[in-house]
C-alpha cells in the first residue's frame, strides 16, 4: 500500500467541494498531478493544491492507495465521493457528503462529520469517531434507492434521518439519535446504542432496527409481538420485538405479510 498525505494549508472561505479526494482519482498520479486535481469553491475552479500540501505517492490502483488528511476538513465537502477502493483517513472533522455514493474501500474520520454522510452508499466502510449531523446513510432527494450495502459506524451521536429509504447494509450509531430512523426503509439494519426521541421505523416496509437505549415516543403503527434474546454488535440482551409500520404497505411472501422489525432493549 502507498500513502498520500494531504496537509491543510488554507481554510476555504466558501466550502471546498473536493469531489476528487478519492483513491480512485489519486491512483497512479504524482503529487503534482494530485495537487492539480480540480475542485470548486463556489463558482471558482480551484485545485486540491490550493488548500493542501500533497506529499507521498499513491499506488497504481485505488485499492493500493491510502489517503491521510493531516488536519481539519470542516470546510471540505465530498471527501471519498463515489470511491470504489482504498482508504481515506481524516485526522480531524469533515464536512458534508463524506463517503457519498461510495462503492468500496474505507473511510475513517477521527473528528465529527456534517450531514449526508454515506448518502447513496453502495458498499465499503465508514467509521466516524465523533458525531454526525443529519441524514446518515440516506437516499438522495427523491430517490427510492437509498443505502444499498456497506457499513457506517458513528461512535458519537447522530441527528435526524438515519437510513431514510435504506435498502441494505448496516448503520450503527453508538450514542443517541434524534428522530426518524429507517423512515421508508425496505431493508438494511440500523443499530442505535443510545436513546432515540421517536419516529422510529415510520413508513417502513422491510428491514431491522435495534435500539439499545430508550425510545421516548413509539409510533402507533408498531405492535409488540414477543420478547427475544439477541446479540447485537457485541451486546447481548433481552429485546421487545415489535413489527410495523402497520400503517404502511408490506410485501407478501407465501400469502403472509412481511413486516419490518424493531427490537427495543427491554427495561432491566
Amino acid at each position: 500500500m502507498a500513502t498520500v498525505t494531504l496537509k491543510p494549508t488554507k481554510t476555504p472561505t466558501i466550502m471546498f467541494e473536493a469531489f476528487n479526494i478519492t483513491p480512485d482519482a489519486f491512483a497512479g498520479k504524482t503529487p503534482a498531478q494530485i495537487a492539480a486535481l480540480e475542485g470548486r469553491e463556489g463558482k471558482i475552479k480551484v485545485t486540491i493544491g490550493d488548500f493542501f500540501e500533497v506529499s507521498g505517492s499513491p499506488g497504481a490502483t485505488a485499492a493500493e492507495t491510502d489517503i491521510v488528511i493531516a488536519g481539519d476538513c470542516s470546510r471540505v465537502k465530498y471527501i471519498g465521493n463515489k470511491m470504489t477502493a482504498g482508504s481515506i483517513t481524516v485526522n480531524g472533522n469533515a464536512d458534508m457528503y463524506v463517503g457519498g455514493w461510495m462503492k468500496g474501500g474505507k473511510i475513517h474520520v477521527k473528528g465529527n462529520v456534517h450531514s449526508f454522510c454515506g448518502i447513496g452508499m453502495e458498499g465499503g466502510d465508514i467509521l466516524i469517531d465523533g458525531k454526525a449531523e443529519n441524514y446518515v446513510g440516506c437516499a438522495y432527494r427523491g430517490d427510492w434507492r437509498g443505502m444499498k450495502d456497506g457499513t457506517i459506524r458513528i461512535k458519537g451521536s447522530a441527528g435526524n434521518d438515519i437510513g431514510t429509504f435504506m435498502l441494505g447494509g448496516t448503520i450503527i450509531i453508538e450514542n443517541n439519535a434524534f428522530i426518524h430512523v429507517s423512515t421508508h426503509a425496505e431493508g438494511g439494519t440500523v443499530i442505535i446504542k443510545g436513546d432515540v426521541e421517536g419516529r422510529v421505523g415510520g413508513q417502513m416496509v422491510k428491514g431491522d432496527i435495534y435500539i439499545l437505549g430508550k425510545v421516548q415516543y413509539m409510533l402507533p403503527g408498531f405492535k409488540k409481538i414477543e420478547v427475544v434474546e439477541k446479540e447485537v454488535d457485541g451486546v447481548k440482551g433481552t429485546f421487545d420485538h415489535y413489527i410495523g409500520d402497520l400503517g404502511e404497505r408490506h410485501p407478501k411472501s407465501k400469502g403472509k405479510e412481511i413486516f419490518a422489525n424493531l427490537y427495543v432493549k427491554a427495561a432491566a
Binding site: 438522495y140 432527494r141 427523491g142 430517490d143 427510492w144 404497505r249
Partner: protein, 569 residues
C-alpha cells in the same frame, strides 16, 4: 437572411418521392427555394443523407404534468444530463424529463423542427405557453384535451354536434391550441370520483355518456370544423393485458367518418402510442403481443394514422391525462405518485417507471412497439414516437430507428434480456426480418406526421416554398454502416441542422437559438349565443377562475404562426 446551399447530399424526400438522389438543397429567407446566388453559404453534404426537419406528432414536452415530472424527480438529474454543452448556452438538466432548454437543444441536435405537445389542460394553458416560450429552436403546438370535458360530455349527451364544435372552436382559440386531444374518454372524468371507464360502453358517472359516444362525437365535431389535424386519441384501458380488443373496437369507430378539410389530411382518427394498446393475454403471466392483429386492421384503413410509443428500456417518467391509469400503475410499482384533477376538464397522473431488461413484461412491451413499426405497410401513416417520456425519452428516437432498420440491433438487444426465450414466445419480433429503409424512416418521422397534422405544406419535405428545416446526417446512403450503432449516432447528433433557414446545429453541437414559432389554429365561426351563455354561466358557478383571465394573452405566445380555419355556419 442569408442564403444557404446544401450541396451533393443524398436527398431523401418522400413528399416528392426522392430516394437518395444526389442533389442540392437551396435555402433563402427561411424557405426552400429552387436556386440561390453564388453568395450562398455552402454546406458540403457529400456522402451524407439530407432530410427535412423531423416532425414529432406526440410528445409531452411542455405544461403542468411535464413540469411535475421535472419537479418531483430530482434523482432524474443527479449525475445525469447527457449531451449538455458547456458555455454560452442555457444550462441543461434532466434525463427522462429534460428542462425546456435541454428539450429544445436535444430535438435540434436530432434534426427535429416541430414538436406537438400532446396534452394541454385548458385551465393550465398559460403554463403550457410559458414553457413553449422557454423551449428554444423548435416550433411547437399544443393539443387541448377534450375527452372528459363537462361541456363536451353535456352537449354530446344531447347529440349537439354543432354546439360541441362551437365550444371546441372557442376553446382552441382562447388557448391558442391546435386540435382535439382525447385521453381515456370518459375514464378520466370518472376518475374524479376515483372510478374509470374500461370499456367503450361504461357510462361516465353523472354524465351518463359512454366513451363510444364521446369518440364518435368528437370525430364528427372535428370534421364539422375541418381542423388541420384529426381527433387525436389515447384510448381507454391503456397498458392492461388483453386491451387490444377495445383498441380494435375503438379504431373501428372511425369507419363511418369521412375527412373534411383543406389541409390534405386523409385520416379522421390519430391513435397514439399504439404500443400501450396492443396487448393480449388476460394477466401479466400470459401477457403477449397483439401487434399483428392491430396493425392488420390499421394497414387496411386509410382513415387511421398511428404512432408507435416504443419502449426504450430506460428508467423514465410516465405522465398522462389518464389519471386512473397512473393510480393503477402506482399500485404496481409503489413508487411516488402525483395526480392533478382539473376542474371541469381533465386530470393527470405522473409516476416514475423503470423498464427493466430483466423483467419479462418490459421485454414484451419493447417488442410490441417495434413490431407495430415493422408490420406497417404504409409508413406514411405510422410514426416514430415514444410517447415521450412515457415509454422512453425522445432522445431515444435514433435508437428506435436503429432497431427498425437493423435486425442485428434487435437481436443484440434481445440477447441482453433475462427472459429472452419467454419474450420471444410472447412476441413475433424474433421471427421478423424486415429492416426499414431510410426512405421509410423519413416517411415515419417527416412526411407522414406532417401530413397527419395538416402541415404538409410547411414541414416534412424539401419542396421549394416549404420551411427551410433541413437535417444533414452522417450516413452514406450508398454504403450504410454494418454497425447499427452508427445509425443511432448519426440521428442523435445531426452533422448539420438548419432551422427556418439558419444553421442551428453543426456536428451535433448547438450553434444558435434559431427562429422559434408557436403554431396555433384560429377557428373562425359565427358566435353561438347558446354556447357563450353556457360558458359564462359555468365560469360564474363552477370554475374558480374568472372568464376574462382564462384566454391566454398574446404576449405569452410570441412569434405565432396562426392557421386560420373558416367554418361556414
Amino acid at each position: 437572411m442569408a442564403e444557404i446551399l446544401i450541396k451533393n447530399g443524398f436527398v431523401i424526400d418522400p413528399t416528392r418521392k426522392i430516394d437518395g438522389d444526389v442533389a442540392d438543397v437551396a435555402i433563402k429567407d427561411g424557405k426552400i427555394v429552387d436556386t440561390v446566388s453564388s453568395a450562398a453559404k455552402v454546406i458540403d453534404a457529400k456522402g451524407k443523407v439530407v432530410m427535412a426537419g423531423g416532425v414529432d406528432v406526440h410528445a409531452h414536452v411542455a405544461g403542468p404534468k411535464v413540469n411535475v415530472g421535472r419537479l418531483f424527480r430530482p434523482e432524474d438529474k443527479l449525475f445525469k444530463s447527457p449531451m449538455a454543452q458547456k458555455n454560452g448556452y442555457r444550462m441543461e438538466s434532466g434525463f427522462s424529463v429534460p428542462s425546456t432548454f435541454k428539450t429544445g437543444y436535444d430535438y435540434a441536435r436530432m434534426g427535429y423542427a416541430f414538436v406537438m405537445e400532446a396534452a394541454m389542460p385548458p385551465l393550465f394553458t398559460a403554463h403550457v405557453h410559458e414553457e413553449i416560450h422557454d423551449t428554444p429552436i423548435i416550433d411547437e403546438a399544443a393539443l387541448p384535451v377534450f375527452g372528459n370535458n363537462w361541456f363536451v360530455m353535456d352537449y354530446l349527451k344531447k347529440g349537439e354536434i354543432e354546439n360541441t364544435a362551437a365550444y371546441i372552436a372557442w376553446l382552441i382559440r382562447v388557448t391558442k391550441g391546435f386540435g382535439i386531444k382525447v385521453v381515456n374518454p370518459g375514464g378520466t372524468a370518472a376518475w374524479s370520483w376515483g372510478l374509470n371507464c374500461l370499456s367503450l360502453d361504461d357510462p361516465v358517472p353523472y354524465f351518463e355518456i359512454t366513451p363510444r359516444e364521446i369518440i364518435i362525437g368528437l370525430m364528427k365535431a372535428n370534421e364539422y370544423l375541418g381542423l388541420p389535424h384529426s381527433m387525436h386519441i389515447h384510448q381507454n384501458n391503456l397498458g392492461n393485458p388483453g386491451n387490444y380488443a377495445i383498441t380494435l373496437d375503438s379504431l373501428k369507430l372511425a369507419e363511418g367518418i369521412k375527412p373534411k378539410n383543406k389541409f390534405g389530411r386523409e385520416q379522421v382518427m390519430h391513435s397514439t402510442h399504439l404500443q400501450f394498446h396492443s396487448y393480449g393475454g388476460d394477466s401479466w403471466a400470459n401477457f403477449e403481443s397483439k401487434a399483428k392483429e392491430v396493425m392488420d386492421y390499421v394497414n387496411q384503413n386509410k382513415g387511421i394514422t398511428v404512432d408507435l410509443g416504443c419502449v426504450t428500456l430506460d428508467e423514465t417518467t410516465t405522465m398522462t391525462a389518464d389519471g386512473p391509469f397512473e393510480h393503477h400503475l402506482n399500485h404496481l410499482n409503489h413508487l411516488k405518485w402525483c395526480n392533478v384533477d382539473v376542474e371541469l376538464e381533465t386530470a393527470a397522473g405522473v409516476v416514475p417507471y423503470v423498464y427493466d431488461k430483466n423483467i419479462k413484461v418490459c421485454g414484451i412491451q419493447w417488442a410490441v412497439g417495434l413490431e407495430l413499426g415493422l408490420y406497417a405497410t404504409d409508413p406514411n401513416r405510422t410514426f416514430v414516437s415514444t410517447d415521450h417520456p412515457n415509454a422512453g425519452p425522445f432522445i431515444r428516437y435514433p435508437r428506435i430507428i436503429k432497431w427498425l432498420m437493423s435486425k442485428k440491433a434487435r437481436e443484440a438487444t434481445l440477447d441482453t434480456f433475462k427472459y429472452k426465450d419467454k419474450v420471444i414466445d410472447a412476441t413475433n419480433i424474433h421471427s421478423m426480418d424486415r429492416e426499414l429503409t431510410l426512405y421509410e424512416i423519413a416517411q415515419m418521422t417527416r412526411s407522414g406526421p406532417a401530413k397527419c397534422l395538416g402541415l404538409s405544406n410547411i414541414y416534412g419535405g424539401l419542396a421549394p416554398g416549404m420551411n427551410a428545416d433541413v437535417g444533414v446526417f452522417d450516413l452514406n446512403y450508398k454504403n450504410m454502416p454494418s454497425d447499427p450503432e452508427m445509425i443511432e449516432k448519426a440521428f442523435l447528433r445531426a452533422a448539420c441542422f438548419i432551422k427556418s433557414g439558419e444553421i442551428v446545429v453543426r456536428d451535433g453541437e448547438v450553434l444558435g437559438h434559431g427562429h422559434k414559432n408557436t403554431i396555433w389554429v384560429n377557428v373562425k365561426m359565427p358566435e353561438n349565443p347558446q354556447v357563450m351563455r353556457d360558458i359564462t354561466q359555468s365560469f360564474t358557478k363552477d370554475y374558480t377562475v374568472g372568464l376574462s383571465n382564462y384566454p391566454v394573452r398574446d404576449y405569452l405566445a410570441p412569434h405565432p404562426f396562426v392557421i386560420d380555419v373558416d367554418v361556414e355556419a
